[in-house]
């Protein structure tokens, strides 16, 4: 008797599971054939645009607005994998507005001459974007970044021409006769 009951239980429980599977045939597919289907283009044939590519807060590649950057180096300090390199020169004193919604003003005396982010090392943790006082380093929503060569993963955000221009500006600033004393102590305080 037990023998037949076991057989019946096995068959009925499998049928139950198969019914669940069968129901799936009549539902919409959950996935698309990426990259054949371009998820960023809903008008592509065969794709109804039912998948949202990425959300608002998506942590894609990092980008820097170097005109707003005040070269405080906090991003490089907090980075756990040392993927950010910032070199800067001292230039004329100006102010910049934060890119964050509050738009807070910060003084700017140092100008970046080199700002590299090594995306091969970056782990997209977002600690740099949190400490940045001006919001100049932030995430994009771009996620497609295959590179054929390793050095192409290092993104240079300042062109050599721009760096040359900033160096010239800094040299002019340094040549100006000025009471240097208060500025010098400030730089020392920053270094500490």
């Amino acid at each position: 008797m037990n023998y037949f009951r076991n057989i019946w239980e096995a068959i009925s429980s499998i049928a139950q599971g198969m019914a669940v599977t069968l129901r799936q045939f009549f539902t919409k597919p959950e996935t698309v054939q990426y990259p054949e289907v371009d998820v960023l283009n809903p008008r592509m044939p065969g794709y109804s645009g039912h998948l949202k590519p990425v959300s608002e807060r998506f942590r894609g590649f990092l980008t820097v607005d170097t005109t707003v950057c005040i070269s405080c180096n906090q991003c490089a300090h907090v980075c756990p994998v040392d993927c950010i390199l910032v070199e800067s020169e001292k230039g004329p004193k100006t102010t910049v507005n934060s890119l964050r919604p509050d738009g807070k003003e910060s003084p700017k005396t140092r100008y970046p001459v080199q700002f590299d982010i090594h995306l091969g090392r970056c782990m997209y943790c977002g600690l740099c974007t949190e400490v940045c006082p001006t919001g100049c380093i932030h995430f994009t929503r771009e996620f497609r970044g295959a590179a054929g060569e390793y050095h192409k993963l290092i993104h240079h955000f300042i062109s050599p021409e721009e760096a040359e221009r900033v160096r010239k500006l800094a040299a002019e600033e340094a040549a100006k006769p000025k009471p240097e004393k208060p500025v010098a102590t400030k730089v020392e305080a920053e270094k500490e």
Binding site: N6, E9, A10, S13, I14, Q16, G17, A19, V20, T21, E30, K52, V54, S55, E56, R57, F58, R59, V78, C79, P80, M123, Y124, C125, G126, L127, E130, V131, F139
Partner: protein, 373 residues
């Protein structure tokens, strides 16, 4: 005629084996199909996280804890944050505590889904795995809206959480729970009730309560042996004492043996329901307010040491942190649940078949990054 002679035969299982859940290698000594000895060979995923912790400042170690267990990153983030908060005496605002519980329990659901799905997949039923991943994908979408990442969330911070919920997020979490709660029954119909699946697991590799305690099993593996021990109840942290939930334990489900593979599996299925219950309570009572306590920019906790343990999906995760007043810890020791689960496999698998070893690994929910660190 002399009797048939059989030799002990050495067989490699892994490191690239779909059922070892990551890069773990077993050197099996088998007599026919019966396992005489299973020697686990770990270290393929060793990244030296404990040493890295000594080199980076306290807040900068947070993204590394994601990699400690990538299936339950928020629980790991929380454990690290909680250790440093206890070390430095930081009070966390209530809204952040609620957000932590909601995200951690969502993460527990996601992690258990992988665990039960992978066990079914190891037993030869691939469809449940796809069903589990489909539901987990919805949780990943929720996390992406919240913090921008789908796997390595890096969401908790020392003294709070990194971001507040976007508008409408709580409603979407509620929508997910309403969708998912009946799905557990569908999943049970799909595989848990399946006679073949039950027969395959219910008497395999039972762990008695004494043996589980002796080997230091934690989490669902310990509860599967009938020991009612859950750090959320027994050593409460966060806002867990204010929440109502049950601690499911193994009790020989489906006429099986107490502490068998099927009991461990069922404990996880039941915990899914409890997690849903916890999240619903948190959503109902989450207060407005700050999400981040005031923490100095360069954190230098006073000299001292702390051992802090929390309940992650794979059991207890503990951080032992020694501070000597610098901005980096002097020593960090990490204890994870998979490590103790790994140590029992050798003893447990003796006398069972090779196919049962797959069930043992799957039901213990061993995951390679937790074992090696």
């Amino acid at each position: 005629m002399s009797p048939l002679q059989t030799d002990i035969w050495t067989l490699n299982m892994g490191p690239q084996h779909p059922s070892t859940h990551g890069v773990i290698r077993f050197v099996l000594k088998t007599d026919g199909e019966i396992i005489a000895d299973a020697d686990p060979d770990v270290g393929f995923l060793h990244r030296g996280l404990e040493k890295i912790a000594e080199l980076v400042p306290y807040p900068s170690f947070m993204p590394y804890t994601d990699r400690l267990d990538y299936l339950a990153a928020i629980n790991m983030n929380w454990a690290w944050a909680l250790s440093i908060e206890r070390l430095a005496g930081i009070e966390v605002p209530p809204r952040a505590e609620h957000l932590r519980v909601i995200t951690a329990e969502l993460n527990r659901i996601a992690s258990h889904l992988i665990s039960v799905g992978a066990l079914a997949s190891d037993m030869g039923a691939f469809t449940p795995f796809v069903h589990a991943l489909r539901d987990r994908e919805r949780i990943n979408d929720l996390f992406e809206e919240l913090c921008g990442a789908r796997l390595t969330f890096n969401y908790c911070r020392i003294g709070g959480v990194s971001l507040d919920a976007p508008p409408g997020w709580f409603d979407r979490v509620r929508g997910f729970l309403d969708y998912y709660e009946p799905m557990i029954d569908v999943f049970n119909r799909l595989i848990t009730d399946n006679k073949i699946f039950v027969e395959r697991l219910r008497r395999v590799a039972p762990v008695s309560a004494e043996m589980a305690i002796a080997y230091g099993l934690v989490g669902p593996n310990l509860r599967g042996s009938g020991v009612k021990f859950d750090l959320r109840k027994d050593e409460p942290y966060g806002i867990y004492p204010q929440l109502e939930f049950e601690v499911p334990v193994g009790r020989g489900y489906r006429d099986g043996v107490l502490g068998s593979c099927f009991d461990r599996y069922m404990v996880r299925i039941e915990e899914l329901r409890q997690s849903i219950r916890i999240i619903r309570q948190c959503l109902d009572r989450i207060p407005e307010g700050e999400i981040q306590a005031k923490v100095p920019k360069v954190l230098r906790p006073a000299k001292g040491e702390v051992y802090c343990r929390t309940e992650a999906p794979r059991g207890e995760v503990g951080f032992y942190v020694i501070s000597n007043g610098e901005k980096t810890p002097a020593r960090v020791k990490i204890r994870t649940g998979s490590w103790s689960a790994m140590s029992i496999i050798r003893e447990l698998s003796k006398g069972w078949m090779i196919a049962d070893l797959v069930a043992i690994i799957g039901s213990l929910d061993v995951i390679a990054p937790e074992v090696d660190r």
